[in-house]
Structure formats: C-alpha cells, structure tokens
C-alpha cells in the first residue's frame, strides 16, 4: 500500500473510532499536546492507561471474588478506572464505569459482576483499536510520511 493510501486508511480508521464511540474529544486534546519535543506523548500516556487499567481490572476481579464483597473497595477501583478512561477519551469504558458505580452503591453483586465483564470487554476492544492505530501510524512514519490529523 502506498503512503497516500496508508494515510487515508488512518484518517478513516480514526474517524470510525470516534463515530463508534470508542474515542471522544478528550483523545483529540491529548493529540494536540504532542509536539516535536514530545513526539511519543500520546503513546506514552496510552501505555500508562493500559498498565493502570490492567492493574485495576485484576483488583476488581479479586475484590468481587471475596466471600464478603467490600463494595467501597470495588467502588474505589471503578472510580479510578472511570477517571483514567475519561482522561484519554476512552468513552465506552467510561460509560460502563458509570453503570458499575451505580451497582456498587446498590451493593448489587450480580450487577457488579456483569459490569466487570462488560468493562473488560470494552477495555480489550479499545486497546486493540488503539494498538492498530499506533501500528498504522508507525507504518506511515517508517514510509517517510507524516501523520494526518
């Protein structure tokens, strides 16, 4: 595939991520912060998000497996996940977190378990999509092109 096609593919891909609600305006803000002095900023922040999320998902799994579930603890983890997902614009993850917190408040364990499944799913979707996007960007850069915004 030639450079122009790659660039077009990237633009289309990004657009679809916004249209399907995977990313929102906050991600755009993130990209605008990147410059020649910090060319890997977006990738770095997103990597931190991945690390953070994986840790939180593990904590959530453990917390919900307990004999007697500590809902405050579960809520604290979801709260963090909500914060970090909204900070990078991972809208669908954020939305599940909102529902998740409601179930925590109700101390509804079934609801919480369901939400954990959902949030895992949404997280793995957005992770895959962001990784694909970064790969595409890398291909463009390697071909000597620049990233279309």
């Amino acid at each position: 595939m030639d450079l122009v096609q790659l660039q077009r593919q990237l633009v289309d891909y990004k657009t679809s991520l916004y249209n399907e609600g995977f990313l929102d305006e906050q991600f755009t803000q993130l990209q605008e912060l990147q410059d020649e002095n910090n060319p890997d900023f977006v990738v770095e922040v997103v990597s931190l998000f991945f690390e953070d999320s994986e840790r939180l998902l593990n904590e959530l799994t453990k917390a919900l497996e307990q004999q007697s579930v500590d809902f405050k603890r579960v809520d604290a983890h979801v709260h963090q996940l909500k914060g970090s997902s909204s900070s990078i614009g991972a809208q669908r993850v954020q939305k599940v977190c909102i529902a998740f917190r409601n179930y925590c408040e109700e101390q509804n364990i079934e609801g919480c378990v369901k939400c954990l499944q959902q949030v895992r799913h949404e997280y793995s979707l957005v992770k895959t999509k962001l990784e694909s996007m970064f790969q595409l960007q890398q291909q463009i850069l390697s071909a000597g092109g620049s990233i279309p915004m």
Partner: protein
Amino acid sequence: MVLGKASSSSLSMKSDEDVVNNNNNLRVLVVDDSPMIRKLHDMYLKKFGLEVQVAENGKNAVELFRFGASFDLILMDKEMPVMDGAEATKELRAMGVKSMIVGVTSLDSPYEKQVFMEAGLNYCFNKPLIADNISFLLQELNKNNNDKN
C-alpha cells in the same frame, strides 16, 4: 528589563511582555496518585510555560511545604491513598499556605464537590483538566500577582 533613558519609567511598571512572561515564573504542584494523570497534567502545564512538580499523595504534598517549598498553584486530586485531597488541603490552609489550591476530581455529586471546596479550595474542576481550565487559572493567578504590585 531595560532601564531606559526615559525619565518616568518606574521599576514596578509592567509591560505586556512581562505579563506574558509571568507564566515562566509560576510554579505548579500536581498532586495525584495516578501516574497517567500526573503525566497528562504535567504536559498541559508545561505547554503553558509553567514549572511543574508532582506529588503522589496528599501527605507528600504537605511535606513539600513543610520542607519550605512554595508553589503558586496546587492541583489537588481528591481520592488518594495515605492522605486524600480534602485532608491535605485542610492541613495546608492550617499551615498558613495561601497559594491557589484547585481541586481536580472525578466526583460526580455536587455535594461531594461542595465538601471538597469547604476544605479550603479556591476552585474545583472535573478531571481531566482541559486547556480552557488552565487558561482561566493562569488569568486568575496573573491577576493576583498584578494586584500585589
């Protein structure tokens, strides 16, 4: 600063350039337990020409002040381990710290925001901060600095 030949230029008179350059002298402390958020806010603030330091929790922030550090602006997360944002804010105010303290939180309820404000905040914003929030804060900071002159 140029000591010109003009007779009436007073040393305390500020030109437009000085007002813009004021940002370079402003020191900001970002207090948040999430490495991702610290990185994000750090980047935003550096873009505005500010000097940034970070702290992982409320206790570390308070200790910085105890050891004689000073900042013009503190961005304080609410939910942190060891010492949370509200407690840290109360301590700082009790220590006589007059710097601008701005709460940054993903707390949903207006009641919780109110409680946080009452700990001694100047303002409270939703996480994550966006460029507009920072512009606003800088305006306020520069206003305060100009009033002092």
